[in-house]
Subunit: 144 residues, 2 copies
DNA sequence: TATTGTTATACTCTATAACTATA
DNA sequence: TATAGTTATAGAGTATAACAATA
């Protein structure tokens, strides 16, 4: 086995542990328990990319359609998204944010990410640059 | 709000989404369903740091003690760890890997991380270097 | 009284399989 | 038949609260 292959295996191992621990920390950091991190991620994606079908949303978030159905049902119950029939395709549904969700996202951007933002502020600028690049690479890895 | 603060907030947002999607992808990548990713992470930590108490293991993995109890009970049932009384403190228990676990970890290092290793091999060397640094930074963020 | 670990309980997150409705 | 979405069901993962044993 080549040196590069060995290094890559070690990186895979360390990266996996780091991502698991970091994501646990992020989940547990929640203060407002009404909207979960999964819900918030779906809302963020809707704001970023605009209205879309449940299937598209599931693909964006890398979950299966039934999982997204549950999220959407919960969000609709909280008045954070609307479900409207697709104009031409009767099978499809269009999910969109309500004004309440917009306000919630603005609030979350300040409150909920406060912990992470605070931690990031304590890092060196070069470290933030590394994470900025790493976020893009991880999205790429999650995607393909 | 300063430019740096705005950038940090945006980084917090993007990093959170990237880590969530990436960790979902990692969890779903499992082929061998007998040992879960959570179990594997605990075993990896034991191999890396040696025998320790359930409480220490929970702290390492950033979970609460009852959560680790469940993991340890499952692993013991599979013959992958042993629970022995602490020599001097009757309250404590020492968790250690069995030879079966050592073999499993060796196998997993090849098989289970195959997907991630393969994806990492496809990256540019500079991208791997970024992830190597990012893994350390995320561990630091998860820790404090 | 403080610490370690466990039990009891419940909730979140996610999946697969089966079903319905529309194309 | 194929696609989009949902319902039904189940399992993994994790938490908080209460308890037991030991220091």
């Amino acid at each position: 086995m080549s040196r590069t292959t060995l290094d890559t295996a070690a990186l895979a191992h360390d990266l996996r542990l780091a991502v698991m621990r970091f994501s646990r920390r992020l989940r547990n950091q929640r203060v407002d328990t009404s909207v979960t991190l999964t819900h918030l991620a779906a809302l963020s994606t809707l704001r970023q990319h605009g209205p879309m079908s449940p299937g598209e949303l599931a693909a964006q978030e890398r979950v299966q359609p039934p999982s997204m159905t549950r999220v959407v049902v919960a969000l609709e119950g909280m008045g954070l998204v609307t479900r409207t029939p697709h104009p031409t395709d009767g099978r499809q549904v269009v999910i969109d944010l309500t004004p309440a969700a917009q306000g919630l996202l603005d609030e979350e951007a300040r409150a909920r990410e406060a912990w992470l933002s605070g931690r990031l502020q304590d890092l060196a600028p070069e470290e933030r640059a590394v994470l900025r690049e790493a976020a893009e690479i991880m999205e790429k890895l999650a995607g393909g």
